[in-house]
Symmetry: C2
Subunit: 252 residues, 2 copies
DNA sequence: CCAAAAGTGTTGAGTATACACCCATGA
DNA sequence: TCATGGGTGTATACTCAACACTTTTGG
């Protein structure tokens, strides 16, 4: 058996949604999972995050054809028969950005038939993280172009991708509070100031340096390295995460 | 535009999964969301929970045809063109149990091609809650039968439904800790003892009555009613939830 | 009047927050 | 030597967990 889809659905910052009611269509016999009529297509779309210039950014591609031509969207595409959802997400991400081998987590599935006016496409949204925005290169003939955008200043997005963006950002922020997910947005070695700046950037709030240090160190997630980062002033100790697998821990 | 899919992905109790690596297939031009080749089907499956006999139970149907005939599974079926995922889940749930108008939340999507050996079916898993297990009646010719099972003693399940069960249970437990989701497993009016017993049952741990009362009351989610529940002994005050929409609050 | 479930406060421990100064280096 | 970012400790407020007896009713 293959590896399960990567993703732990967990973010806490959501408000209420529609819960009760909803139209319940009359019963339709489905012929047990096999009807002859048209079926929705399945796609994956991935919100790729990175830090650049002290800002949290995500990568958008410009659609080159179809009803949404010219609009910006997250890289994605249809799932092939025989591949897992994770594989499809990695394949599409790799095709669009050259970055397929990164942290990847399934977020949520969007299936409103009106999300794409030309066809009923169910899209499984993913979030991906990389530590180097510069490593991405637009490398697909499929898209008219690709570019990093500050999450606070996204252009108008195609389909329902604005909802995906919102969902991804909330998930990312939530996981910053109770997992070690931050390691995927940092280089292998980093200073405490860099880690703290990352947290402040993603969470959009200042952190107390002493309290932050104490808590992070108390968890034992980091290993202090012998090397130092030498800059214009006092050198800073370098750290690295002991583990890069996702760990659920109360962090902040 | 229709209502978005209902669901806030959030549970905290998960362990790490596979994160990096994974095979990245060579780039395939997709013809922009429209390829002529075979595509995966899309289904929904719903883990329906209720309390019965002081135990947390979920409803399973027995498959009547196909490769998994005779095995137990969560009620579900293929998504129709033109309906949202929520609508599909409600339709299938209503067809199998008569219960379509209940709390419903999307959990996660499972797309491993080997999950169903006869076809590549991507399934969007849902969780649903009802306050009365007895209201369910097997009412589908599609299935050989339906029955409530204690979550701790599920039979062998078809496809990858055991993973779904695990996922749903973790999500439910997590939401008990930080939302008012419990209201959907209780009758409209209830005693504090009933609420506490519900929490103890779902979380599988005893709670201190005084601390529990204090915290729940301090949140102001409940309204005390004038009526009392009269039983064999001292009468108990009745309460009701002020709101049934999902609220994110630190509860325990 | 007895059995059984309902209802009620306090204390101590541990955790989270607020806060300011010295240090090491390069220029 | 000075400007700049790196690094460190303490006191207080608050939150969480542990704990047992009295009240009310029906039988």
């Amino acid at each position: 058996m293959r590896a399960a889809e990567s993703g732990q659905g967990d973010f806490r910052g959501t408000q209420d949604t529609q819960i009760r009611g909803g139209s319940v269509a009359p019963r339709v016999a489905d012929g047990l999972r096999d009807a002859p009529i048209a079926r929705p297509k399945v796609a994956v779309d991935t919100v790729l995050f990175a830090i650049a210039g002290g800002r949290l950014k995500c990568y958008l591609v410009q659609l080159g054809a179809g009803s949404a031509a010219g609009k910006w969207a997250f890289p994605g595409g249809l799932v092939h028969v025989g591949e897992t959802l994770d594989e499809a997400a990695r394949r599409e991400l790799s095709a669009s950005t050259g970055q397929g081998d990164r942290y990847l987590e399934q977020l949520f599935s969007f299936g409103d038939p009106s999300r794409d006016p030309t066809a009923h496409v169910v899209s499984i949204a993913y979030m991906a993280l990389i530590d180097d925005a510069g490593a991405v290169q637009a490398c697909s003939q499929k898209y008219a172009g690709g570019q990093w955008f500050e999450v606070a200043r996204l252009p108008a997005l195609a389909y329902d991708h604005a909802v995906m963006a919102d969902y991804a950002l909330r998930r990312l922020r939530a996981k910053f509070e109770y997992t070690n997910i931050a390691c995927h947005l940092l280089k292998r070695n980093f200073t405490f100031a860099e880690l703290e700046e990352l947290y402040a950037t993603v969470l959009e709030r200042p952190l107390d340096r002493r309290n932050f240090r104490r808590r992070i160190l108390a968890m034992g997630l980091l290993r202090r390295l012998a090397d130092q980062r030498r800059g214009a002033h006092r050198p800073a100790a370098l750290y690295t995460f002991r583990q890069h697998s996702l760990q659920m821990i109360e962090m902040l």
